[in-house]
């Protein structure tokens, strides 16, 4: 449980003045994640929206030590920082207890970065990897990623005269892949529920080993909606079960929020222009199949939780 009063008194670890879009969820996620940390923390970040917008030389928005090296290797880079920490601590050259948090977009995490993430998790470094998941390669201009949901439009899977349905493939379930690495703490969260996200970060950091949180981040430019709707859209993703929020602690699933009334998927899809083609008559079947897919995944998640 995060205490809002106490959180408000904390010093900001990410400052304003950066160049993220109005309404960007990534900045919100970064601030909230870092507000969950009490002691010293070192941040590593993959190339992407968050990194380029917050570190335009000679300025930086980060008040923590911050390292960016390349796109596909944030986890590997962090594993080096963490290894240096363990080595120097063992030799008595570093005294403090320091935590390590890596931020990567879905591009740098699901696709080009999956190898280095997998390796770092398998090696059991004590680091928390946060995927700020806006479901496409946003920094390079809204191209499809392995996290893009079926039916979404992106610039590399656009609708045209022949292909009318947007992305044809289902998104990868990276969270399940992380669970399969048998790491102590895995979770899904959203920008839009600060208490849930902050509590999860605190739990993850308390673990003596690797942890991973996949945070859905509505992107107003890439998804096409009004900037002030970011957090509400995040909550809609949970209420429609399009993006369930849950934790997996040592392999045991616990769903964080079960919607009292599961809302129809179209309530999540309608406000976003990346889905507007789905409401054309020729896409009626596709639209129905997307609801069916969400329902099936939700049922499966409920079953997995029940088994535990």
């Amino acid at each position: 449980m995060a205490n809002l009063k106490e959180l408000c008194k904390k010093e900001e670890k990410v400052t304003g003045g950066h160049r993220l879009c109005a309404g960007c969820g990534a900045g919100v996620i970064a601030r909230q994640v870092l507000s969950a940390v009490d002691g010293p923390v070192i941040v590593t970040c993959a190339t992407g929206c968050l990194e380029v917008s917050t570190t335009i030389f000679p300025y930086t928005a980060w008040k923590t030590p911050f390292l960016h090296s390349a796109f596909e290797n944030a986890a590997a880079t962090c594993s080096g920082v963490e290894s240096a920490y363990r080595s120097l601590k063992k030799q008595g050259k570093v005294k403090e207890d320091i935590r390590f948090i890596t931020f990567g977009g879905d591009g740098g995490t699901y696709d080009i970065g999956i190898q280095s993430l997998s390796g770092a998790m398998e090696r059991r470094h004590r680091m928390l990897y946060i995927c700020y998941n806006n479901e496409a390669y946003m920094n390079t201009g809204i191209q499809r990623s392995g996290a893009t949901p079926r039916g979404a439009q992106t610039t590399t899977a656009p609708t045209g005269k022949v292909k009318t349905g947007g992305k044809e493939q289902m998104r990868k379930d990276l969270t399940a892949i992380m669970v399969a690495h048998d790491i102590p703490y895995v979770a899904q969260a959203i920008a839009g529920n600060w208490n849930d996200l902050i509590t999860k970060v605190q739990k993850a950091l308390a673990v003596d080993g690797p942890s991973f949180i996949n945070v859905l981040q509505p992107c107003r430019l890439g998804w096409g909606y009004k900037p002030e709707e970011t957090l509400a859209l995040g909550r809609l993703a949970v209420e429609t079960c399009m993006w369930p929020i849950f934790e997996v602690v040592h392999g045991e699933y616990k769903i964080s929020q079960k919607p009292k009334e599961k809302k129809p998927l179209v309530e999540f899809l309608k406000p976003q222009s990346r889905f507007k083609h789905l409401f054309r008559p020729e896409n009626a079947e596709l639209l129905a199949s997307l609801q069916a897919e969400v329902d099936a995944r939700w049922e499966r998640l409920l079953k997995i939780e029940a088994k535990a």
Partner: protein
Amino acid sequence: MVTKTSKTGIIVAKTGNEAMAESMRQIAPDVVAAYPITPATEVVQIFSQFVADGIVPTEYVAVESEHSAMSACIGSCAAGARTMTGTSSQGLALMWEMLYIAAGLRLPIVMAEVNRALSAPINIHGDQSDTMGARDAGWIQIYSENSQEAYDNMIQAVRIAEKALLPTMVTTDGFIISHCLEVVETAPDAEVKAFVGEYKPARYLLDIKKPFTLGAIDLQDYYFEHRWQLAEAMRNASSIILDVAKDFKAKFGREYGLYEKYKMDDAEVALVIIGSAAGTAKVVIDELRAKGVKAGLIKIRVFRPFPAKELANDLAKVKAIAVMDRSDACAGSYAPLFNEVTAALYTNLTANLPKAVNYVYGLGGRDITLEHFNDVFSRLQGIAKGDKIGEPLTYINVRI
């Protein structure tokens, strides 16, 4: 009869890989992040045993690829840890973008690079195409002729990298030196430890009281200045390398420069060459000298920064030079070392430029013998007397 250069020196038999691993044991870096690849594998394998036996305090990170190896090294070095790694060929090629990043971030990472041919075709044997291919990355490059040099270069590399704030790679020819047993004089642990000293970075991520951002994005208004600073650091590295070599000679008795001059004082015909084949060539030079031929060679030790001015001065009086490349740039013109040498000559000498011809040899571990060097010197003698050069680039010992 093996004469020691230092009273406290220890004479041992080591392969190139063992010599490099031994130097790493004595340097005892804080972190080694590495991925195995033939023929460099043994360096980190032997080192892993040191870690398992508690002989070194090093954290060994068994990363899942070479790209991650250099990424982890960057993280570790930026964090404030003395960091080392090792690789060859495809491994170096895989970490190519990270080499540039390590240099751009001015991180003094030291790498043991066992020279191996680049695919395709895949070949695991020795040539210098891998490190030659990385010559523009901003790394200091020090090439070793034999196991002794490999051991000595690794130790010096730590001081050089940390003073110049440039990552540094030390090479050996794959299999030829890496797997070949030679007599090596090592130094006692305490002397090596004293020579390399403590790593004291001006700023580092684990210094949490002084947070900073590393790896920012530069727009058009800053990138050029940062890259100029990097190039300037490389230019300044020569004097640092010579200073460290001076101290190395004082402590261990062995002398190093930017290159080695072998019988060059009055040489009329000479080779410029890198690596183990210099040893073979020296035998031929001795034989020629006994016959009265004024033959010599310059063996490049420091390829980056390239000692252009000094080399031009030392080659000024030579009549005919053969530049021996153990890599081919597929340039459609000439090979890498030839381009560097002739640019140096053309830029620094005002008149009477020596004639220079290029040879590509030894790709993929193809042998080069005493006969081949004799042929090269015969041609050089002809050119020195006025023979036409003919083909500027010749391939040695290959079926065309």
